[in-house]
């Protein structure tokens, strides 16, 4: 007679659980992280306090959190759109790189000394490049049922290496002392920054796009079509919704928004194209979209929190002199706990004493 673990799908998720589980998960992760920090010889309380102060304690911290929330929101929206249709675009990272690459090309080959014109040029080029990158996978999926998870993932590597080719090779700034980056863009090819901080014009677009996506899902025919395909593809066909067209379109728009976010990141912050300019925003965006349950408005909030986590990690690195990898472990721990907790929302786990083949169990 032993203990047996039984899991079963919940028929309904109680509201209290929906709140309790993620909160509990974060607490658990923080406790596990505390153990980790203690092992590294750092006071966990001091470390957490430093993280909190660094990310949200003053205007500088908040502004840095906002800076990180911008690409997370934009790429998160891109991902959420395709997920709504049950097309699993995990290629936001590659689309982001392609967007930046195309925008850098626009600066290099079609420079006009006017911020507005230049912004439109860069945004157009980025959206087109990112969109094409996504639409390609979408077409393969719709036409030949090629698994989009694999294609978008592979396309990520191609895009990242394509950027590397240019920044290490033909576009490398001779004055960069060997760093893999292009020359600094002229002022007209940069996005304005505000409030005496690094918060740039991208934040405006993050909010606009979130609201726009909300409207699209809620009120438009297209948003409805996307949701129907995601909820029941057979019923979508029955309603005369064209899967091929929508798969390509959704992946194009998704890629375009991700590409646009790459352009914002490059032109708003670094002001040049450089190797590894995105620390995996396109991947973190998947988590953002998922935690926000694909809701565009909630997505902004989640992006802000994850942004804070990233900034807090940076602070920890500086203040506590912790190695980058240990901070990544801590961040991973928190994300792992929150995502893992989802399981307990969908499934109920019970421990029962197993009495094989005896239906005598009564309570």
């Amino acid at each position: 007679m032993g203990l047996r673990v039984v899991t079963e799908k919940r028929v309904r998720v109680p509201v209290w659980l929906e709140v309790l589980v993620p909160v509990g998960a974060v607490m658990g992760a923080l406790i596990a992280g505390a153990v980790l920090l203690a092992l590294l010889g750092v006071s966990p309380l001091a470390a957490y306090a430093a993280m909190l102060r660094g990310s949200l304690g003053d205007w500088y911290g908040i502004s840095e959190t906002l800076v990180k929330a911008v690409p997370l929101t934009l790429a998160g929206l891109a991902v959420a759109l395709s997920f709504r249709m049950q097309v699993w675009n995990i290629g936001a990272e590659g689309q982001l790189y392609m967007g930046a690459l195309a925008a850098a090309a626009a600066v290099r080959f079609a420079f006009v000394d006017n911020s507005l014109v230049m912004f439109c040029l860069m945004a157009g080029a980025a959206a087109l490049a990112g969109g094409t990158w996504g639409a390609f996978a979408g077409y393969l999926k719709a036409r030949w049922n090629v698994n989009e998870i694999i294609t978008t993932l592979m396309l990520n590597y191609i895009a990242i290496h394509a950027v590397d080719y240019f920044v290490y090779g033909p576009w490398k700034d001779p004055a960069s002392l060997g760093f893999p980056m292009t020359a600094s863009f002229p002022a007209a090819a940069r996005l304005p920054q505000f409030f005496d901080s690094r918060v740039h014009l991208g934040i405006f677009f993050a909010v606009v796009f979130a609201v726009l996506f909300h409207i699209v899902f809620r009120w438009t025919k297209w948003g409805f079509e996307v949701r129907v395909i995601g909820a029941n593809p057979k019923a979508a066909q029955y309603a005369g919704i064209n899967f091929l067209r929508n798969a390509v379109l959704v992946m194009f728009v998704s890629g375009a928004v991700a590409g646009f976010s790459g352009m914002c990141e490059m032109a708003g912050l670094q002001g040049r194209l450089q190797h590894g300019f995105s620390p995996g925003y396109g991947y973190t965006a998947i988590i953002v979209a998922w935690l926000a349950r694909l809701n565009p408005l909630a997505l902004m909030g989640v992006a802000f929190l994850l942004g804070a986590l990233l900034v807090g990690g940076d602070t920890l690195q500086v203040v506590m002199r912790l190695p980058l990898s240990s901070i990544q472990v801590l961040q991973g721990l928190i994300l792992f706990a929150v995502l893992g907790a989802e399981y307990f929302l969908t499934y109920r786990v019970r421990f029962i004493r197993s009495v094989p083949d005896s239906p005598k169990e009564v309570d």
Partner: protein, 556 residues
């Protein structure tokens, strides 16, 4: 004094609430060993809910359950299965990607790591032999028709040696012969001391198989009666609270022009097989054209090809004489072809969306639901939905909740409401009264007749012969993708004759059989002048020309 044998199941004072709806209100229900106890009630009366409580899916808000005299509380379906309760759900739950035998053992406790496939398959074959439930244990479930899947679901319960078997509307997708063999199965189990709960809206069946009948209305139990001595009319009246009539509809005298024609159509099925083997037929306005056939004989593929959901290998579908090629479903929709698919949760509706969204599913791009080029006017949609729900008597806890929460019959009503509400020119209806209670069935049949009289061409695909005979102006029988014959005088045929045709006997043999038995010769023209036999293109054309007059020869 010997103790009295306790009932197998005793549910006492069961109450279950959903968002303000009392689906079950203090219901007492018991099943004795060796009896068939039927639950009867209108759509949404709470039958499935009560049985879901019994099988551990829902936790009751009040009341208790005794199994063989012992108080039990089921926290999960597993507990109920362990207590010997087997349920075949109204929308049975199989895993489509897995084979029949895998589905059988799925969720069983105490499974060995390596499944003894041979033994399992052998046992399935034994059971299916014993209870005459034919299935291929090695076929993946997604390839099976709904009728076949249902057999698997019944087998699954038997495989688990259920003492108490709950059958929630099991006969809806079976032909008479299959229903008879299911009843034989049920009687055999009853003889072996099992308790059976039977749910059906077909009163003849209920009277044929039940020992006792309990009637629910709006969540409350009206009473429990012995089946002997009750009549259909009495049952219907107790269920609905008023008298229900349904007599065969008068056939139309004047048929309209051909609206939709199918020419030498060859269509592949899901398995890549040729499911429809050169079918030709034509639907005329102002008529109901019935198509009888056992599930899985190509009618699904035929219907899908007729509405643009499935491409054809060869042949063509013509709407008002225009070849549709492999036009999109929307092209058919725009020409006024409505479609009521068999598989309502899988194709016809989106279970996770709300009523409004499901109502506009096939018209959101049109006025008045579309606002401008981009937007949907949900206010208009809500208004429209409210009116439809009222008109078709859909019982729902609210317009904003996912339709998953609706009862089976109400889902069907919702789909019908959507498809019939804007006066379609042709209606392809597959099992339109599947799962509807007597009152709603009467209502839907009247709506179909109304549509016919208004001028619609109705294609009625069903396995319910009583329904086909009551409604059809012309009737065809399909077997293995071929039309066995088309008759202009369906009422001259008996249900047995049709059953034989559906099982593959040729019309000639059926007629000969009648002669040999000395049955009265069939009155009137039996064979439709436009009777087509598969593969006989020349004869088809000749027959079509011979009919002349109104016939534009679509392929001349």
């Amino acid at each position: 004094m010997a103790a009295e044998i306790p009932p197998l199941v005793f549910m006492r004072g069961i109450t279950k609430r959903f968002l303000g709806v009392k689906a079950n209100d203090a219901i007492d229900f018991d099943v004795r060993p060796g009896e068939v106890h039927t639950l009867l009630g209108e759509n949404g009366a709470g039958k499935s809910t009560l049985m879901n409580v019994l099988c551990g899916l829902y936790k009751p808000d009040g009341g208790e359950i005794e199994i063989e005299g012992e108080l039990r509380r089921f926290r999960t379906p597993r507990d109920a299965i362990a207590a010997g309760i087997g349920m075949v759900h109204q929308h049975f739950m199989l895993v489509p990607a897995q084979t029949v035998w895998e589905n059988m053992v799925l969720g069983l406790d105490a499974l060995p790591q390596v499944l003894p496939r041979k033994d399992i398959v052998r046992r399935i074959e034994e059971i299916s032999e014993r209870y005459a439930l034919r299935v291929d244990p090695l076929a993946p479930v997604w390839q099976l028709s709904i009728g076949e899947q249902q057999r698997v679901a019944i087998l699954k319960a038997l495989y688990r040696q259920a003492r108490i078997l709950v059958l929630d509307e099991p006969t809806a997708v079976l032909i008479p012969q299959e229903i008879q063999s299911l009843f034989a199965t049920i009687r055999q189990m009853r003889g072996e001391g099992h308790g059976i709960v039977f749910i059906s809206h077909k009163l003849d069946e209920v009277l044929a198989v039940s020992d006792r009948i309990s009637i629910l209305r709006k969540g409350k139990k009206i009473g429990t009666f012995a089946a002997v001595g009750v009549t259909k009319e009495k049952l219907a009246e107790m269920m609905v609270g008023r008298q229900v009539f349904f007599n065969g509809a008068p056939p139309t005298t004047e048929r309209g022009p051909v609206f939709l024609a199918v020419r030498d159509l060859v269509v592949r099925g899901e398995r890549g097989n040729i499911a429809v083997q050169g079918v030709s037929l034509e639907l005329r306005q102002k008529e109901i054209f019935g198509l009888a056939g056992v599930a899985g004989n190509g009618q699904l593929e035929l219907c899908e090809a007729m509405v643009g959901l499935r491409g054809s290998e060869s042949g063509d579908v013509l709407v008002q004489g225009r070849e549709m090629g492999n036009a999109s479903p929307r092209a058919f929709l725009d020409r006024g072809v409505a479609y009521i698919p068999e598989d309502r949760k899988g194709t016809g509706l989106v279970p996770s969306m709300n009523i409004r969204e499901n109502v506009v599913l096939r018209k959101y791009w049109k006025k008045p639901f579309a606002r401008g080029r981009w937007f949907i006017d949900w206010e208009v949609a809500a208004g429209h939905t409210g009116r439809l729900v009222e008109r078709f008597g859909v019982i729902t806890p609210g317009l904003g909740i996912p339709i998953r929460a609706l009862s089976g019959g109400n889902l069907q009503k919702l789909m019908l409401a959507r498809e019939l509400s804007d006066n379609p020119k042709a209606i392809i209806a597959v099992q339109p009264t599947w799962g509807l209670d007597v009152g709603a069935t009467e209502y839907v049949r009247e709506r179909l007749l109304e549509q016919r009289d208004r001028g619609a061409a109705v294609f009625l695909v069903s396995e319910d012969l009583e329904e086909l005979l009551a409604l059809s102006d012309r009737l065809a029988v399909i077997h293995q993708g071929r039309i066995m014959g088309i008759t202009k005088n369906p009422r001259a045929l008996s249900e047995e004759d049709l059953g034989l045709l559906m099982a593959g006997t040729s019309l000639e043999d059926v007629l000969r059989g009648r002669e040999e038995r000395g049955d009265a010769p069939l009155p009137g023209p039996l064979r439709d002048p436009g009777t087509f036999f598969a593969g006989d293109g020349a004869a088809q054309k000749k027959a079509f020309r011979a009919e002349g007059g109104e016939g534009r020869t679509p392929w001349a």
